[in-house]
Amino acid sequence: MEISNIVFILVLIGSGSFFAYNVRKIIQNIRLGREENRSDQKKERWKTMIRVALGQSKMTARPIAAILHIFIYVAFVITQIELIEIIIDGAFGTHRFFYESLGGLYTFTISLIEVLSLLALIATFSFLARRNLLKIPRFVKPEMKGWPKLDGNIILYLEFVLVVCIFTMNGTDEVMHRMNYGESYGFAISSWMGPLLFDSLSMDTLVVLERIGWWGHILMVFSFLCYLPYSKHLHIIWAFPNTYFSKLKPKGEFTNMESVKSEVQLMLDPNADPYAVPEVDPNATPQRFGAKDVRDLTWVNILNAYTCTECGRCTSECPANITGKKLSPRKIMMDVRDRVEEVGKGVRKEGDKFDDGKSLIGDYITEEEIWACTSCNACVQACPVNIDPLEIIIDLRRYLVMEESKMPSELATMNTNIENNQAPWQFSPSDRLNWKDEA
């Protein structure tokens, strides 16, 4: 075993462990959320996942982005096949381990990967242009300043370097193969592009370039793996569980809060003893009505936040955002993720008692934002990975209204009207049928 194989194995194990360590932290953070049973209708859930995550059915609403995205997506998935060979070659010092045994199939696979890589390169340039030159509105909203903007670009730079390395590796290898064996590999792109670019180079230079390509490629893959948990790009993993666990009920159906249900039933029960002292469960933990902070949200809400890739389709369809209000559903998801990262860190350090005096509503999301929502579900409809910002907005409203009695004054009046006259306006219930006799 050579030193390069040892280095390779160490980098492989190192980046793999680092990735696993970070994913574990994220799973811990997701578990900070409240219980929510989404284990029903398994068949329907699998179908949703296959349709929406694997089949990317909701991407098609924007055809240009959908086509460019599918290039990178398919290239990414198919390239994983080549990764198997790279790991074997890297660990055992072989060269193109499957070349001999697979024959024509090998040529086909690598050719396919080359074509897809070229398409991915085109998509990468287009995406960089859309973000930085064309400045498509949804990529330059206020919440996209700073890190989120850089994050989006970093992924694309990595992608670019990765593809350049693949072609350097295959191109130089092609030239050397011809020199050594007098025959071509026959790969779709590198078999003609390689000689075109590298023919005049000496064997020594070719060997060095091929190694730079090979190592550059695999190091990009490992860097990508390490970077992923810090990036919005994590959607490539979470999109699958996220769509699997997404809401299957009609979009208009909001949850009926169980904690409220028992109270209301008691109030309306004619047989209930109004003076009875309720049985106290010593193990019960006091639960908030609605959500003040991320730990009051459900684990699905937090999984949603980690899945968000900040594409901004939600925000660009949001009627409140379109008309200049502060609300941006994407920002809601980004705030939840930022806050759960912070709380997660604190909880790992100080345990469940962690309290930094901050909360999701107030310190991250303002009341003005959540009251601007029309609950129209446009954001939910627009999300390509079935994220539901509306559920979070409503839970934040519930906290403000039921725990703090904080709401726009007109809504307080509306509530009073419903309580007193059974209508949101101040009309007498006995006048309900007056319309019948009016001209």
Partner: protein, 262 residues
């Protein structure tokens, strides 16, 4: 104009009779002057087709929808459970309503609290009346008119009802045009989620203006919708552009009732 026949549940019960369907009028339909016209149009259609229906009248109460969307789950559940007691007391099986907000809440959120009914929107009922041949229209009145349809969020996206209202418009012999943002991508009128009862947050435009602008781009004679809130918002929008003499905002029920000379 013939007199509307609007029996209440209590009256029917007193004669030992039962309706086939309960017409849930909703607060807008009961109290809002514009929405009352929609209510009457629905009743005219029901009367014409001799649908055996009843209303709750003074026994009807807010479904609790705006309270729930505004975060007041207590008030919502209080309203819901009281309504369920009334509905179950009358052994109601099927409900039709002219309000997509009531429709959504009754259909989706009441079952979890013990209220199980077959709930349909009035456009679905009217569609059924056409299918069974009880209702026909000549369409003459709307010949050559251009009609666009604004999807109510709580009918469309929230419950995937896109076809019923469109099929009904197609029956009118008019020219039907879709707005750019329609069906699942339809833009909200701005009054869902309890916005109907409050001022909008600061921004650079009102949502109903944005939506009306989009509708007016198609230069329609009529903006059709299927929700009393949408109706109010779009009517205000049209007035904002001083187009109220050229463009009418009408509910699907009104279109059908007018076309049938009811």
């Amino acid at each position: 104009m013939s007199v509307l026949k609007v029996p209440t549940m209590a009256e029917m019960m007193a004669t030992g009779d039962k309706p086939d369907v309960l017409f849930w009028v909703g607060c807008s339909g009961s109290f809002d002057d514009r929405a009352k016209k929609i209510t009457k149009a629905i009743v005219k259609i029901l009367n014409k087709c001799e649908v055996k229906f009843a209303v709750l009248g003074a026994e009807e109460s807010c479904t609790g929808d705006p309270a729930k969307r505004a975060g007041n789950e207590f008030l919502f559940q209080m309203q819901a459970m009281m309504n369920i007691q009334v509905l179950d007391g009358y052994e109601v099986k099927k409900i039709v309503t002219g309000c997509p907000h009531c429709f959504n809440t009754l259909k989706n959120e009441y079952p979890g609290l013990g209220g199980n009914y077959e709930v349909i929107h009035h456009t679905q009922l009217i569609q059924d009346l056409f299918k069974s041949g009880k209702l026909t229209v000549e369409g003459g009145e709307f010949k050559g008119k251009k009609i666009t349809f604004h999807d109510p969020c709580y009918l469309g996206r929230a419950n995937d009802v896109y076809e019923a209202p469109r099929e009904l418009i197609q029956k009118l012999d008019a020219e039907f045009v879709e707005m750019k943002r329609c069906r699942a991508k339809g833009l909200c009128c701005g009054a869902g989620g309890a916005q109907m009862f409050k001022e909008a947050e600061n921004g650079n435009k009102e949502i109903n203006i944005e939506r009306t602008e989009e509708a007016l781009e198609k230069s329609p004679n009529i903006i059709a919708t299927g929700c009393p809130f949408c109706n109010t918002m779009m009517t205000d929008g049209v007035k904002n552009f001083n187009k109220e003499n050229e463009v009418e905002v009408l509910d699907i029920a009104e279109l059908i009732a007018n076309a049938s000379d009811l």
